[in-house]
Symmetry: C2
Subunit: 304 residues, 2 copies
């Protein structure tokens, strides 16, 4: 079975700590890479984790706070030095293009690839991107500035062919892709072999939701219902609930409540305030509400 | 004796590696901190090294390549969150202010301190800054874009008072500062006590030179003659001399030759190309020419 994975490059919040870089993740789905947020040091983490980014074509920026986008210019600049040629697409609020324009024109002259900005409306829940295998939707969040999360939804996967039946009916190789997609096969004698004889059901497509930065918001629950994996920010402990409300962030308890109410399969928390040296207390708080919670940690890869 | 130290935050070159962040250093002289260059991740290294930056007032940027300045916006932004109130002065080529203007106005509204840009002419060797204890001079270097290094020169230190002589002549405390600066003392009887009786010679003031990025350039030799410590880039090994010339960088051999010809007391090399996983070969190459060479390493503090 083809795995989907989430590599956390940084899961700190505004102030980096000894352990945690600012926000950035790479989601791998169907052999493609999608970056979510790009805080300062993202390109450094990529190298520290030994990630090759040749299958990275799209970067999604949740909102225009520095800890979610200051790493873009360094990443783009280094991609240029490494002779990347494939277009790089950045999905973000329109202002980002203006902010980056002068930097790109000063520091990234003669880039051997194009940087293409796509404007997101963070207030809308809508399809913002799709390719052959994945759909990406925006998830309006509740923060001090306009901000949206992202829902990554795999398109239906190919059915598994039954090798012995393919051999039995002597089906030529060029027919296989269509059969994987559900087509029947007609023999030279005109006999129709139903697809169910030749294949078994595909693996169920994966869904991953990213919700950061956000205050506790029940509005997202119907949008992320039943996802395989939810990354939800947990900046504070419940004892800092007032501070969480003021800054429009969530507590670990609240993140877990969203996970529970959304019936997600797995929760990963992150975006920890620098005040917490050990994040296990945040994990414990979340686990008390939603057992299948994992502590987001820099330089760690999670299966979706 | 009051030490002067150099903390290397990053001594990689354009592409960061697992070990080396892009260029940044903090020089401590007379209890003040001076930052030289500010590549991406500088604020992360500051936290990883546990450095308090409350004595940092001035940042000097050698040139406008990303690996020497992409960390500024994150550093400034975080200083704001940490409620810094003291002005922060940035000494750099005039273009930097224009490039940073839109970022500062978007990401750093309501900073509780002022960011003040001071324009450097990198083609001139001149005094660009001085305070009570230090003078800073620009050092024109030879690079693909206008670039200058920096010479930090401590002003003469105070003379050491001889406590027993001060007691013998019953000299009041309020006279001590002037005596440390070389003044004689006149007793109530009108007797003049020469300063040499009351004090011994001060420690000699320290001089530190930073030369990065630069091709081999004999023009800097008279400007950095006899410094206590020279940081000189050593991007390549001598076997990559052609590449060094093309990119206007130096080899470890060349860095050592500059150190030797300038009669410096100590050489620290850095700004290594990402191609070198172990930098000991660069150190060996430099040591063969100039024995008192040290390998610049991230997160390491050197005595000047």
């Amino acid at each position: 079975m083809q795995k989907a994975t989430l590599s956390i490059l940084g899961c700190g919040s505004a102030l980096p700590t000894r352990k945690n870089f600012p926000s950035s993740q790479i989601l791998e789905m169907r052999d493609k890479q999608y970056m979510i947020d790009c805080g300062e040091g993202t390109q450094i983490r990529i190298r520290q984790m030994g990630i090759k980014t040749n299958r990275l074509g799209h970067i999604f920026i949740s909102h225009l706070h520095g800890d979610h986008c200051f790493g873009l210019i360094g990443l783009i600049s280094s991609c240029g030095m490494l002779n990347r040629t494939a277009d790089l697409h950045i999905h973000a609020q329109a202002d980002l293009e203006k902010i980056m324009e002068i930097q790109l024109s000063y520091f990234c002259t003669d880039l051997p690839f194009k940087v293409i900005f796509h404007s997101i409306n963070p207030r809308k829940h809508e399809l913002i991107f799709e390719d052959r295998s994945v759909k990406v939707f925006s998830l309006p969040l509740k923060h001090r500035v306009p901000c949206c999360g992202f829902l990554f939804e795999e398109k239906p996967r190919d059915r598994h062919i039954l090798r012995e039946m393919i051999d039995f009916y002597n089906i030529p190789t060029w027919r296989i892709p269509k059969i994987k997609q559900g087509e029947n096969f007609t023999t030279e004698e005109g006999e129709i072999i139903p697809n169910e004889v030749l294949t078994t059901a595909p693996d169920s497509p994966k869904r991953f939701a990213y919700c950061s930065d956000t205050a506790y918001s029940i509005k997202i629950i119907p949008l992320i219902q039943d996802v395989d994996c939810l990354f939800h920010e947990a900046t504070f402990m419940e004892e800092e609930l007032i501070r969480a409300k003021q800054t429009q962030h969530s507590t670990a308890h609240q993140a877990a409540e969203i996970a529970l109410k959304s019936n997600v399969k797995k929760l990963i928390i992150g975006h920890y305030s620098a005040r917490y040296v050990h994040q296990n207390e945040l994990l414990d708080e979340a686990k008390a509400v939603f057992e299948n919670t994992f502590l987001g940690e820099d330089m760690t890869v999670y299966e979706i």
